[in-house]
Symmetry: C2
């Protein structure tokens, strides 16, 4: 068994020593989890060497383990012939994605090394956004003439058996003058008599999506239909490719991942193997925005310095109320985000959500407020002190859940991404309100707090 802690270092040495055979043998012997770690930790130089040493198929497997940005970096640095050979091991949608990460000049040099027809297909695919049907489709599908018998189709498949071996074939698409007219499932071919006309067995007028259909439209489609793939057509119903369920699920997972990352202020993808200053800058843009918002919120405290200096114990409760209200608000945000993504609520229904949140806000505000009021009273030995801090928290909890529930819907309605914007808007607002409530109530009650 290879020593886990250093298997990537061994690999690095083998690659840099230039013994392609040893590299290949070693890489193949690594368990999958080790391969991911090894591939991602090699120096850039060694990663390029690794891909040059392996067979095209193994090199493609290695690249597929890496995050897309890193894989594209490698394709940028290997010889053009290697890039062409490795790229051709990927399905067409992944080829287009990887080429999309490269600079245009480099991508064109790689495309020039491919079959002209293949290259022009990829150029067309590169035009699509990554998250529309055209960008998620593969063009490696089987399209045959609709004017055939089942037997003829099976014969055609048997002729192309080698090619099909590599494809993820589930359906045969039937076209009439390039236009999609029917779909045959492999099982239909298997179960029908060879003499039958394809038109008798096929699913006629099959469902399809346009090439510019969004991820959401595709998600709706696959939710409604239990298909493994859907054909993609242009405005004239010409068959362009196929989006498989797996590609959509990958896109949805990537989006969920991105939303989670963004909610923590990582707007661009970060890997710890990236250069330090780039990583620092990626995080700083978000933090700088937060400093500004924090200063705005804290300026409320500065306005009440007079009150605070007379009842210094209030300073202990300011961060507590800020943090607790943020928590309550974020819970409401999370429920709204989930209901939006499940389609259980429409972006226009903020009022409905608010009516449903206000009850929870009142109940939780009362509970948390009482707890904090009791604590404040006992600590300072003054019921008025407890009333001020507990009351402020209770009212602010109601405000926080009301805003937290509605903010994602309102943002979505105005087409701002709620995963990014909900957090900072909510936190700033609840902080300001919270500080204003504690210190404002304290100013009113000042005669009883001394």
């Amino acid at each position: 068994m290879v020593d886990e802690a250093t298997s990537w270092e061994v690999l690095e040495e083998l690659v840099l020593a230039g013994d392609a055979g040893a590299v290949e043998a070693f890489f193949r012997a690594l368990p999958a989890a080790e391969r991911v770690i090894a591939a991602s930790r090699l120096s850039e130089e060694a990663r390029v060497g690794l891909v040059e040493s392996l067979s095209a198929a193994d090199a493609a497997d290695a690249l597929a383990l890496l995050p897309e940005v890193q894989a594209a970096d490698v394709l940028d640095d290997v010889r053009v012939e290697t890039a062409v050979a490795v790229l051709q091991e990927f399905p067409s949608d992944a080829q287009a994605d990887l080429l999309g990460e490269l600079e245009d000049a480099r991508a064109e040099r790689i495309l020039a090394g491919m079959q002209p027809q293949e290259a022009s297909g990829l150029r067309a695919l590169r035009e699509y956004e990554k998250d529309e049907a055209g960008g998620l489709m593969t063009t490696d599908h089987l399209a045959l003439s609709v004017w055939s018998t089942v037997g003829e189709i099976v014969d055609r498949l048997q002729e192309r058996a080698d090619e099909i071996e590599d494809l993820d074939v589930q359906y045969v698409y039937l076209v009439d003058d390039d236009r999609l007219t029917g779909v045959l499932r492999l099982r239909d071919l298997l179960l029908a008599r060879p003499s039958k006309a394809a038109t008798e067995v096929m699913i006629a007028e099959p469902s399809s999506v346009r090439d510019d259909a969004s991820v959401d439209a595709l998600a709706d489609f696959f939710e409604e239909h239990a298909y493994l793939g859907v054909p993609v057509v242009d405005g004239d119903r010409r068959l362009l490719g196929v989006v498989y369920r797996g590609a959509l699920e990958g896109a949805l997972r990537e989006r969920a991942d991105r939303d989670l990352r963004r909610s923590q202020g990582l707007l661009a993808e970060e890997l710890r193997s990236m250069p330090l200053l780039g990583r620092s800058r990626r995080r700083l843009s978000w933090l700088s925005l937060n400093v500004v918002l924090n200063v705005v919120a804290a300026s409320v405290i500065a306005a009440f310095e007079e009150t605070l200096s007379q009842v210094i114990a209030l300073a202990v409760f300011l961060p507590i109320i800020s943090d607790m209200s943020g928590c309550s608000g974020n819970q409401a945000v999370a429920v709204s985000m989930r209901e939006l993504s499940l389609g259980l609520v429409r972006p226009t229904e903020a009022l409905r959500v608010w009516r449903q949140e206000i009850g929870v806000g009142l109940a939780n505000g009362l509970a948390l407020g009482s707890l904090v009021a009791l604590g404040g009273w006992l600590w300072q030995g003054n019921p008025w002190f407890g009333l001020v801090v507990g009351g402020a928290l209770a009212i602010n909890t109601v405000l926080a859940v009301s805003m937290g529930g509605c903010v994602p819907l309102v943002l979505k309605r105005f087409e701002v991404d709620p995963a990014i914007a909900s957090g900072p808007i909510l936190t700033t607002a609840t902080d300001m309100c919270g500080f204003l409530l504690v210190l404002g109530l304290a100013t009113l009650a000042l005669p009883y707090l001394g």
Copy 2:
């Protein structure tokens, strides 16, 4: 076009009026997005009425739109015969999941209405956890004797064509005395000569997973193999069922969803249609924990009341430093969670992560600290004041990213779910350190701050 705002109210009225035909026609005419909203907003009584009114297939479609808890509630309230009929429209793994949500007595009454063989299969499936191979597998697979020819197998499939029509068949499994010995893909059957022995065409010694394999093990498997499904076997290699890629992806998505929810302190699934007090209680358990942690952190402020009363302007910076450090720490948590889930880092490598975070911490701490120091200096007209607040933020940023990077790894190593525990541990620790740094440094520099 149906008025979107009230289509569910119309449906509610139709259901309660008891006209099954009108209900069915109306429900079928609704677009998919409207069906989700309609099904989820009906009163419990109407939801039961809806399922009783629709055909079993339509009712199953309606239930599939609802979150699992709600769907199970409906199955709890409809007539047993309806529950049996509707349940049979689901694949076996979904049947087992839904039955798992019901009380044992109710589940047994429904199982008693099924074919004895089917019921005993479902009883066995109910024993599995939802997130192990046994709980994700479907038992609706095709298992035939390995001692057949390709032609015989195609004949058997043609005999069972009606049954296969409803199944998501991609593979035929070949068994010898119940033990898994080979796999045939539909395309192999299509492309091979009928007289060939199955053993010549099949994939021999096929990959399989044990029934107690975890979601992570399955994810590793599907990452390594481009299969659509994997057979599940017991300790004696007896074939039990098949886990499809789609079922695994569903389980992974559910887990990501749960992690996101949990990171906001929603430990149990919440829907706004649930009763108010239950929703309030679900959120309160988390908030109560947070109050306690907040009080612990804020007690540091109480200990420095003397210093604070002399330099009241410090109170403005306490929430800023608490919030900023929390932000920086959570960014590091998010990067670590992602690298853990991609397999780019092992839980034992906290030291490695720390070395990679410290640089970002120093860079960002310096940047943010300088900004806040400058602001503090200008505002108070005292460079020492700026030094205290800026220095505290700089040091605390380094501490926050160090802890944020390592905490998820350490938690994972001790098998605590990092999605739940990272946030509160980190926030409490960075708050305490932040308050201690600001007020401690201020106490040391007190002579220069007056």
